[in-house]
């Protein structure tokens, strides 16, 4: 089978599934819904994997571009085209595999929901849009996917639409994303206006051929590259939940848990990272913006990690953890470690999806309860969920040889190598915090004794196979995914040939620009030292967590903390009051302005002026008409006076 010529079917199949489920199938036909809902992404996954395999084994040109049809005409001729290159291959792999597993999991998790059909339709739609995003050959197709995933995110966060909060959260997600998208759009406009094309390949070629165009001053003292990358990064901030646009992601947890796993952990939120890496040639030409990216990434990483420490909702912890890890990825991209960013993206997809699905399993067992304060000691009730959750926690904490260790280590090494020591410091601190709050969640959830109601305890049960099998498969990924990117240094120290597969695979998409030095090399000893430091920090974080929350200690530490440092605790628990700040500083003044426009400008000024004008006209008429007194003598006088006045006027 020549999967490469069928490239466009990879996103098309899920769309088809969504359409069939959405329009043709009826609510009651649950079996059919499940079949369609799984077959579409499943087929897409198989097709994707085959295509990647055929591509990687050299059956395809380098890189592969497939134009389906031309979208517009004339001066702005843009094709709907797909592109398979190492970067999109990695992304496609992650998206289809993780996506499919989560679909399978959903069959169990959502099985009793009334909106089962709707759910699968949206989920398939999401898969389609996400694949459009990663496989698109130009910014336009990417943007279609970009907004498409945003839409699905909106719809799925608001899945429980008959409650107050979820649709609100969905709206918030969409709007905040839109703020980013607007910058993305401006960036696209600047690119198109400068290069006349939106094709990734062409833009990269042009920039490589003549970097001075991109370096030429554009606006605000920024170069073209600087302006475009800044815009694109603002877009990424929205999608990937970076400061200051991260606020939607924690709220997004209002959606069903598999959705959180798929969209708000594994795939959609990483789109920003993908985009930055995709346009790395421009970022390399805009060092100041790259540094900004790294700074934002680092700040987000530690900021979210601190909030994660004080959250009691298990999904909220994971959400802030996601924000924090995404910050890590941007940190990597900002310091020029693009491969590391994608590496972390991939490993994160596995362990974070696993964490979410695990938490889903917990919530499922708890009958919808998400508050860790009411959990505890679940490990004996959830024999499969617990170990997989633990594996994922170890992975995210960066314990070797699990996936997170390698990817996180590569990021930190990249930061250190680029002499961004402060950023490295923040990164390492975040690593410790990550280990700490993640193990906190493990201890509070699975260890100690149960703190919920008897009724809940009675109902505790392990999830069905259809949910646990994906957990196991993902756990496998969380363990092994890191091995494709074992650092060159380790291979060499161990005396092997360099088997850093990912690096070699991805190197073609990382542009090498003359005069831009990306190859900061660390000595093997430094690299090893750094690894040890990060492992030590991770273990330290774990130990702290164990001391505070391990065993039967439960919530005692939290209470002590709240008593000793009430201010800090409240600050963290309330997420630094950022939502409130935004509300006061942006939303309300804007609403006030809008109301002012309506009531004052529209109603009072414009309509008022009109009404006054009409009134004055009418008043003139109304006063004037009394000149027609009804008395004939007055009329005669008017005539007489009129004649005299006109005569007077005529002779002078």
């Amino acid at each position: 089978m020549d999967a490469l010529s069928l490239l466009w079917w990879i996103p098309a199949l899920p769309f088809l599934g969504a359409a069939v489920n959405g329009l043709l199938v009826r609510n009651g036909q649950k079996g059919l819904v499940t079949f369609v809902g799984l077959a579409a992404p499943g087929a897409s996954m198989l097709l994707g994997l085959t295509a990647i395999w055929q591509y990687a084994t050299g059956l395809a040109p380098e890189p592969l571009r497939q134009a389906v049809y031309s979208w517009t005409v004339g001066e702005m001729s843009i094709d709907v085209a797909f592109r398979l290159d190492p970067l999109s291959a990695v992304m496609t792999f992650v998206v289809t595999v993780v996506g499919f597993l989560i679909h399978v999991y959903s069959v169990g998790y959502m099985g009793r929901e009334e909106g089962y059909r709707r759910y699968f339709s949206f989920l398939n739609l999401f898969m389609g849009a996400m694949l459009l995003l990663v496989l698109g050959s130009n910014f336009l197709v990417m943007f279609v996917g970009w907004e498409g995933v945003g839409l699905c995110s909106y719809l799925l966060i608001g899945y429980y639409f008959d409650q107050e909060f979820p649709p609100e959260a969905g709206k918030k997600a969409f709007v905040v994303n839109r703020i980013g998208d607007f910058a993305f759009l401006v960036g696209m406009l600047a690119l198109f206006a400068s290069f006349g094309t939106l094709e990734f390949g062409e833009i990269t070629e042009r920039v490589l051929a003549a970097p001075e165009i991109a370096k030429a001053p554009y606006v605000f003292g920024l170069s073209l590259a600087g302006f475009v990358t800044l815009c694109l990064f603002i877009g990424a901030m929205g999608k990937s939940a970076q400061i200051p646009l991260y606020v939607w992601l924690p709220d997004a947890m209002a959606g069903p848990t598999p959705v959180s796993a798929l969209i708000h952990a594994a795939t959609m939120v990483t789109a920003g990272v993908y985009m930055v890496v995709r346009t790395n040639v421009l970022y390399q030409l805009a060092p100041e913006i790259s540094l900004f990216v790294a700074g934002i990434g680092a700040a987000t990483a530690i900021f979210a990690a601190t909030i994660g420490l004080a959250q009691n909702d298990i999904k909220k912890v994971l959400a802030y953890s996601t924000v924090s890890q995404l910050g890590y990825m941007f940190l990597a991209a900002g310091v020029g470690a693009y491969v590391a960013a994608i590496f972390h993206l991939a490993t994160h997809a596995f362990f974070k999806a696993l964490l979410f699905l695990g938490s889903g399993s917990v919530i499922h067992a708890m009958g919808g309860e998400q508050d860790m304060q009411k959990m505890g000691g679940l490990r004996k009730h959830l024999p499969l969920t617990y170990p997989t959750y633990l594996i994922a926690t170890l992975a995210i904490a960066g314990i070797p040889p699990l996936a997170g260790f390698f990817s996180k280590d590569e990021i930190l090494a990249g930061a250190f190598a680029g002499h961004h020591h402060l950023i490295w410091g923040v990164g390492i601190l975040t690593a410790g915090l990550t280990a700490c709050y993640m193990f906190r969640s493990v201890y509070l959830t699975f260890h100690g004794s149960f703190r919920g109601s008897h009724e809940q305890e009675h109902h505790l049960h392990e999830s069905p196979k259809v949910m646990t099998v994906p957990l196991v498969l993902l756990a496998l990924g969380a363990v092994t995914a890191g091995w494709i990117g074992i650092p060159t240094g380790l291979w060499e120290m161990a005396g092997f040939a360099d088997h850093n597969v990912l690096h070699h695979f991805l190197s073609p998409v990382i542009a090498t620009l003359p005069g831009v030095d990306t190859g900061h090399h660390l000595s093997h000893s430094t690299e090893l030292l750094l690894m040890l430091v990060s492992v030590a920090v991770a273990l330290g974080g774990w130990l702290v967590a164990k001391r505070l929350w391990g065993g039967e200690r439960g919530l005692a530490a939290d209470r002590t903390f709240a008593e000793r440092l009430p201010f800090v605790q409240r600050l963290l628990a309330n997420k630094y009051y950022v939502d409130e700040l935004y509300d006061r500083v942006i939303v309300r003044p804007l609403a006030g302005l809008a109301r002012g426009c309506w009531k004052i400008v529209d109603t009072l000024l414009i309509d008022g002026a009109l009404h006054v004008g009409a009134f004055v006209t009418e008043l003139t008429g109304d006063l004037g008409r009394f000149s027609t007194t009804g008395n004939i003598r007055n009329y005669a006088l008017y005539f007489f006076a009129g004649v005299l006045l006109l005569f007077w006027w005529m002779i002078f």
Binding site: V643, L646, F647
Partner: protein, 482 residues
């Protein structure tokens, strides 16, 4: 006998339309006396006379007659036909009203026909005395018609006011004639023109004389500031009379006024005359529309609207020349149709003549009188000057003339005021269709003739707007000599 004063058959024949009308009127009066049972057919007879007059007008050979006291040309024919159209409409809508008010009598058509004869004479007269006599002939008839509803005070009051004002103004007119005659030595337009060209006479007295003449006819046209009588008379006089009164005398008076203005403007006295007309036009448009805006009585509103429309008609005279005739004629024909149409419908659907003709009582009647309300709507839209109606065609030519001859300011005033106009014409439409009915109409009589009149007026207004070609080629033919 001096052969100069003998009357030839050809000259008599040149008076054929007027003679037909006068004889017709007299005949009807006789029939009223001797065969009152035929009353119901009087108006149809009258129509026949109007038709005959119309035919005579159409076939009249061009040229002066009666030693140049009157003349016939395609131009006078065109305006005469407009007058006759108004007379026909006035006759068509009257019988329903008259029988409803138990006023049916031969005097009505008789007065109307005599009045029409006076109007035709006014259109054709080119000598001051002829004009004066014609004017008095038509005025006296109109006084009688305005007071035709003997039993109600408002009708009598309207007639009296009209009479007193008319008499007052005619004194000025005669004085003007005297001055012009005295300073130029002639009462014929041609003679006056020649004298003016020679520079004969005292400019001051001539100016005064012409001004008095112009004001006299401006009074007939109800131009501001000589307008004040119009609302009272329109409101008080019987509605079918107003349908005639509000249009026919205007057509004829405009002809005289145009003649006068052209006469003066082309003479050494010219100077400020165009500006005078511009002033009158602007004042009329403004006052007419502004005062109409606040009226609650539809007849009174239409009176003020008529004032405004005469302002529009005057726009081409602000840049006088032979080219002024054409827009004036187009506008007047449109005005005859839409204004007479509006009054015709008012005649029929307001059942109580003495009462106020409140616009608000039209509420919801659009569904009660679908045909008449539709016609009224068309007339209102046409009066408002919205295409595709005759009113728009008229405005088009008038504004075009203004722009062509550098009177842009006047055109802009015209536009601003027509916007005000839209507001009150639309009020009628929304009353008809958009308000719930508050009171059922009472005592109304809708007869065949009235319906025909309304349809002719409204249909004509629409036709002139949509397919004006035939009308315009007729107009064009009327001005071939100019």
């Amino acid at each position: 006998m001096n052969p100069e004063y003998s009357v030839s058959t050809a000259e008599l024949a040149s008076l054929a339309p007027e003679i037909v009308l006068t004889v017709g009127g007299s005949l009807l009066l006789l029939l009223e006396a001797f065969a009152p049972r035929l009353r119901r057919s009087f108006h149809w007879l009258g129509l026949a006379f109007v038709a005959a007059a119309s035919w005579y007008v159409a076939t009249l050979p061009a040229g002066p007659s009666f030693a140049g006291l009157i003349e016939a040309s395609s131009l006078t024919a065109a305006f005469s036909q407009a007058v006759l159209l108004a007379a026909a409409l006035g006759l068509l809508v009257a019988p329903g009203y008259l029988s409803r008010e138990r006023l049916l009598a031969g005097e009505y058509p008789a007065l109307l026909l005599w009045c029409a004869a006076g109007l035709l004479l006014l259109v054709r007269g080119v000598e001051l005395l002829t004009l004066f006599v014609a004017l008095e002939l038509l005025s006296l008839c109109l006084y009688g018609l305005a007071g035709f509803h003997r039993r109600i005070a408002s009708s009598a009051e309207a007639a009296l006011k009209y009479f007193l004002m008319g008499a007052f103004v005619s004194a000025f007119l005669v004085y003007g004639i005297a001055l012009v005659y005295g300073e130029t030595g002639s009462t014929r337009i041609e003679g006056i023109a020649a004298a003016l060209a020679r520079g004969q006479g005292s400019p001051g007295l001539l100016l005064l004389g012409f001004l008095l003449l112009a004001c006299g006819f401006a009074f007939k046209l109800s131009l501001v500031p000589f307008h004040a009588w119009a609302p009272d008379v329109y409101q008080g006089a019987p509605s079918p009379v107003v349908a005639f009164l509000s249009v026919a005398p205007k057509v004829a008076s405009v002809v005289v006024l145009v003649r006068l203005v052209l006469l003066v403007a082309e003479s050494p006295l010219g100077g400020k005359w165009p500006d005078l007309l511009a002033l009158l036009a602007a004042a009329s448009m403004l006052v007419g529309n502004l005062f109409a805006l606040v009226q609650r009585d539809i007849k009174r509103m239409l009176a003020y609207s008529g004032i405004a429309h005469m302002g529009y008609v005057m726009i081409p005279l602000a840049a006088p020349g032979p080219h002024s005739w054409q827009p004036v004629l187009v506008y007047l024909v449109a005005y005859v149709l839409m204004n007479a149409g509006a009054f015709a419908i008012v005649t029929m659907i307001y059942g109580q003549p003495g009462e106020q003709h409140a616009i608000s009582s039209l509420a919801g009647w659009g569904y009660r009188f679908p045909l008449l309300a539709g016609c009224l709507t068309v007339c209102m839209v046409s009066l408002a000057g919205v295409p595709p109606t005759a009113g728009f065609l008229g405005k088009y030519f008038v504004f075009l003339h203004a722009i062509e001859h550098g009177r842009l300011g006047l055109a802009l005033i015209g536009i601003a005021t027509s916007l005000i106009g839209v507001a009150f014409y639309l009020r009628v439409v929304y009353m008809l269709y958009m308000k719930p009915e508050v009171a059922a109409p009472e005592g109304f009589v809708i007869d065949f003739g009235g319906r025909v009149g309304a349809v002719i007026a409204a249909g004509g207004s629409l036709l002139l707007g949509i397919w004006p070609q035939r009308f315009l080629s007729w107009v064009a033919a009327s001005f071939e000599r100019l």
